[in-house]
Amino acid sequence: MRTPLYHEHEKLGARIVDFHGWEMPVWYTGIREEHLAVRNSAGLFDASHMGEIRVGGKESVPFLNRILTRDIPAMPKNRVLYSFFLNEQGGIIDDLTVYCVEPGEAYMLCVNASNTENDLRWVIGQNREGAVIEDRSAETALIALQGPDAARIFKDYLDFDPDTLKNYTFTVLATVQYCDIMISKTGYTGAGGVEIFLPSEKAPGLWSSLVEQGARPCGLGARDTLRLEMGYPLHGNDIDETTTPIEAGLNFAVDLDKPGFIGLEALKRQSGQGVSRRLRGLVLKERGVPRQGFVCMKNGQKVGAVTSGSVSPILGTGIALAYLDKSVEENDEVEIVVRDRHLKSTVVRPPFVRAAGK
């Protein structure tokens, strides 16, 4: 599958890879340069492969409130929330953002590209309330403009200052060139900026204009190292149907006081009993590259395994997320087995790099 921006990527000489069936740019000139552009100025990402599911009608609130972990009736217009679809065991079917388009009437769910089909099937299967569910993925493009200069670039071009938006809110901007575009003060980089939803056929024009304005095209490679530096989990790596938000330390996105959502009972149980493992950050003290699946050892015992790892372009050291036994605490030393070497690392609480504006 291809996003509406595929030909833009080709024109820019991107290295294209397969990402869960999508032909996506992994880099244009290099992951490190693109990563640093986002931290220091502004980068542009094609996230059009992600899924957009519209949920509408009077039944949308009771329905969403039952399948999501956040308090949907309390969402004001134009608010964005990070949330999950959980199974009955509390395992994460997907993580997503919820957009309140019209309270009580219209919501949009933005889900992972790799899970869109599965999510859609699951959401439709759960819909006993009779909400109106519509897959808008094909006609919706998503461009992320991220970095300290993102707001200025956007304002110079479209005469709207995204910094007038609070984090985790959005607005709909009527433009002559691109029709109605949805500007969301969110992102997956920790560098600040916006995510822009717009009609697919309008996406190439906005993309190339923002590139002309100085935003650097960035591929999935930099998207991954940027999110990892912030400790943001990637579904399929760090979280999946066998891990819960409590184990992943994502309690902030679960409202345990809210009655009757799928997975709540399991999470309450786990919350009461305590978890046997937790997703932690690791910073290598020696040279090396931690990667998914590498075993973590402490005092000669296996205490867990890496779920995501790379070398942080900002820190210049190896960083990783790993599920570690509950006995392991922050600041402990853990060894990561990198092929035949045991590399020392320190257990930390992510982010590995401070987020912009914090």
Partner: protein, 130 residues
């Protein structure tokens, strides 16, 4: 893509350069560094290691991939480029120059002639890219 005329090449994208008295300097090609992307880690075998053609002489890691480097010919590792430990990014910047990886003392000079020359390697890379 740069493929210097005077070098020898392997199918695993190493280059070899005959320097002096049966010594071969070895590194990875421009094509290889470009395919790997940003190199973040280089580990090389120790001086004195005896290797046969095709034995690993090191590991190169980029953000996205891990790749072994293999000996182009039989020999003994005479020198390793320690600078790559601290500055692995040199491999992206100057793969045929400062980012040489090891110097091998070649056992059998006749083996060198079995390697590809620049023209053959060019054709090989073009075929692989298809």
């Amino acid at each position: 893509m740069e493929i210097p005329e005077q070098l020898y090449y392997t199918e695993d994208h190493e280059w070899g350069e005959m320097v002096e008295d049966g010594m071969m300097r070895v590194g990875i090609t421009d094509y290889a560094q470009h395919e790997l992307g940003d190199i973040v880690f280089v580990e090389l075998v120790e001086v004195g290691t005896v290797v046969a053609k095709g034995d690993p002489i090191g590991t190169v890691e980029s953000v996205k991939a891990v790749s072994e480097i293999y000996a182009p010919v039989d020999g003994e590792v005479f020198k390793v480029n320690g600078a790559l430990t601290d500055t692995p990014e040199l491999v992206n910047q100057d793969c045929y120059g400062e980012a040489w990886m090891v110097v091998l003392k070649v056992n059998d000079p006749a083996q060198v002639d079995t390697l590809m020359d620049a023209r053959a390697y060019q054709a090989y890379v073009e075929a692989e890219a298809k």
